[in-house]
């Protein structure tokens, strides 16, 4: 009896205690999250500040923020400086990323449609073959690829970064195939009765239906391709990351550091802009693919 009474008192007391300790916990959580955010952003903000300094010696003056002089001309400089040819590299990066990702995504979705909704023999075996690609580390295939592309006369051209991607992206096929499970077969069946061919079913029914999932995947892939370094380095394609890295190793004098930082900022701006614009969709998509994993 006494025990029960105690328990009742305990549970009755609980709400106030819980809410008080929860509030303390919330405050602690805010403090930790804010501290962490500072650690996340300070290096990037420092880079932005450093990119606006007149010279390296200005970076040395005071602890964090060097001087009050902001030299926006650094950005004009790196875009007009023939030494780094930033506009050309920027154009090349766009030329690589946009067609490769658009065509590759279209093909990936088409592949996912076939695997997710159509019936054919050896489907599972072929699908496993495709998935096998996800295991292959890139360094294990890049040497023969170099030879293959050399035979095609592709070294030094953007083609090695564009053409292979146009054949589709296996990770995307996998994700979209899962997503297609939510699309009911009846949509497809009724289109079939109306005499639609499968290619038309894909273009006019499936593609519009999966656009939300597809869009996030396209954006994530675009950001990945934009930042791609090793293949571009390997096949000598002067994309933005390559040119910026080369600029850094070429400037022997530390005085150029602010301009190197400016070039780095320029290389980050497109992905940061895309992220700022689509952040909600990107984060939801990563969480979603995490759940599926």
């Amino acid at each position: 009896m006494e025990a029960v009474e105690k328990r009742i008192i305990k549970t009755a007391k609980k709400p106030r205690n819980v809410s008080r300790s929860k509030r303390a916990g919330d405050i602690a959580a805010y403090v930790l999250l804010a501290l962490g955010s500072v650690l996340m952003l300070v290096p990037l903000l420092w880079m932005l500040g450093a990119s606006l300094q007149p010279s390296f010696s200005h970076l040395l003056v005071s602890p964090f923020y060097p001087s009050g002089e902001w030299r926006w001309l650094n950005y004009v400089d790196i875009f007009t400086n023939a030494y780094i040819s930033l506009p050309k590299a920027f154009g090349l990066s766009v030329l690589v990323a946009v067609p490769a990702v658009l065509v590759g995504s279209y093909i990936s979705a088409l592949t996912a449609f076939a695997f997710g909704k159509l019936h054919f023999r050896f489907k599972n075996i072929i699908f496993l073959l495709l998935l096998g690609v996800l295991m292959i580390p890139y360094p294990a295939i890049m040497l023969p690829l170099y030879n293959l592309y050399a035979k095609f006369g592709w070294i030094g051209t953007p083609l090695p970064l564009i053409i292979p991607k146009m054949f589709g992206n296996v990770a995307m096929v996998f994700f979209l195939k899962q997503y297609l499970q939510n699309v009911s077969d009846s949509v497809i069946d009724s289109a079939k009765i109306d005499g639609c061919g499968y290619f038309r079913i894909y273009n006019s029914i499936i593609l519009p239906l999966i656009v939300p999932a597809l869009a996030a995947q396209v954006i994530l892939w675009f950001m990945g391709v934009w930042n791609e370094y090793l293949p571009a380095y390997m096949y000598d394609v002067q994309t933005l990351p390559i040119v910026v890295a080369k600029y850094n190793s070429d400037v022997a004098m530390r005085n150029e550091i602010p301009k190197v930082m400016a070039a780095s900022v320029v290389s980050l701006i497109p992905v940061l802009a895309v992220f700022a614009f689509f952040q909600r969709g990107i984060i939801e998509s990563v969480i979603l693919s995490g759940v599926k994993e």
């Binding site: 962490g36 955010s37 076939a114 019936h119 294990a140 023969p144 910026v244 890295a245 850094n248």
Partner: protein, 293 residues
């Protein structure tokens, strides 16, 4: 009639998957096989693979005997200490972000910013951030500590890579943990709390075991991508003082051998790497398969 419809479906399906299958064969399986053959030959990369003289397992033996390769393996393994650190931090972060606090979305965005940033820009930024006169040393000096040239030091240069990788990857693993945490039924915690379990015990007896699939996934993908570390190690050291041996990873070593024209030898390195990745992936499948039974 029915049969004709089915064959039409089959033909369409094969056509739809054709590009992806071709792409996988040409750009993944073909080079993987070629590098396997090349690893048993003295291949300079200039002649055809099969014209190069066969030399059995000589390449593998000399790779394994080369102390520089051993150093590269040690360096690569060293950078992997970032994996458990990143996993621990991101689980804590995910728990802070899963309390339903106001502003959670803003924090998720902030922590994800380094993830989308290009590796080249980020590495150049860290290189300058950690420079002898850089802001990090200024920060230490502010508190009376004397910094040093971190990137010129055998161990600290590697630690710098670890810190950078953790910083860059935190947002991604945190999102996966958030997804995992949202999958744990709230009632488990409520039931345990009624039984008087402390927050500490809730964490170790409910959260940690139930979140294990995410942890496992992060470990495996961390090892696989960690084994292939390249860009960070190549670009972290300033051009002037590049004693790369401190940070030379397995893939950097491979690339160096390729550059010297020892392509057969480099292919042996590539296949050793591939075998490690296959083994880790195989282990993952085995463990996951056992769990499902």
């Amino acid at each position: 009639m029915n049969r004709r419809l089915h064959s039409k479906e089959r033909i369409s399906a094969y056509l739809f998957i054709l590009p992806a299958v071709l792409g996988v064969l040409i750009f993944y399986f073909y080079p993987l096989l070629i590098s396997l053959f090349a690893s048993f030959r003295m291949w300079s990369g200039l002649e055809g693979v099969f014209e190069a003289p066969f030399n059995g397992v000589t390449n593998y033996v000399s790779v394994l005997k080369d102390p520089y390769f051993g150093q590269a393996v040690v360096n690569t393994l060293f950078t992997m200490i970032g994996i458990p650190i990143g996993i621990t931090l991101s689980l804590l972060l995910a728990m802070l972000l899963n309390r339903g606090l106001k502003g959670t979305n803003a924090f998720r965005v902030i922590y994800y910013v380094p993830v989308v940033c290009g590796i080249v820009g980020v590495t150049l930024m860290w290189q300058n951030f950690l420079a002898p006169n850089g802001p990090f040393n200024k920060f230490l000096a502010f508190f009376g500590y004397e910094g040093m040239d971190w990137l010129a030091h055998r161990v600290w240069a590697k630690v710098a890579i670890v810190v950078m990788c953790v910083w860059k990857g935190l947002g991604y693993s945190t999102l996966l943990y958030i997804a995992g945490l949202q999958g744990i039924p709230r009632s488990y915690y409520e039931a345990a709390k009624l039984d008087g379990a402390s927050g500490f015990r809730l964490f170790f007896h409910i959260t940690v075991p139930l979140i294990k699939p995410v942890t496992f996934f992060l470990f495996v993908t961390g090892i696989i991508s960690g084994a292939q570390l390249f860009t960070e190690a190549q670009l972290i050291l300033p051009a002037a003082s590049r004693n790369q041996n401190f940070v030379k990873t397995v893939v950097l070593y491979l690339y160096e051998q390729f550059g010297w024209g020892y392509v057969g030898y480099a292919s042996a390195v590539a296949w050793l790497l591939a075998l490690v990745v296959f083994a880790v992936t195989g282990l993952q499948f085995a463990i996951e398969g056992r769990k499902k039974d």
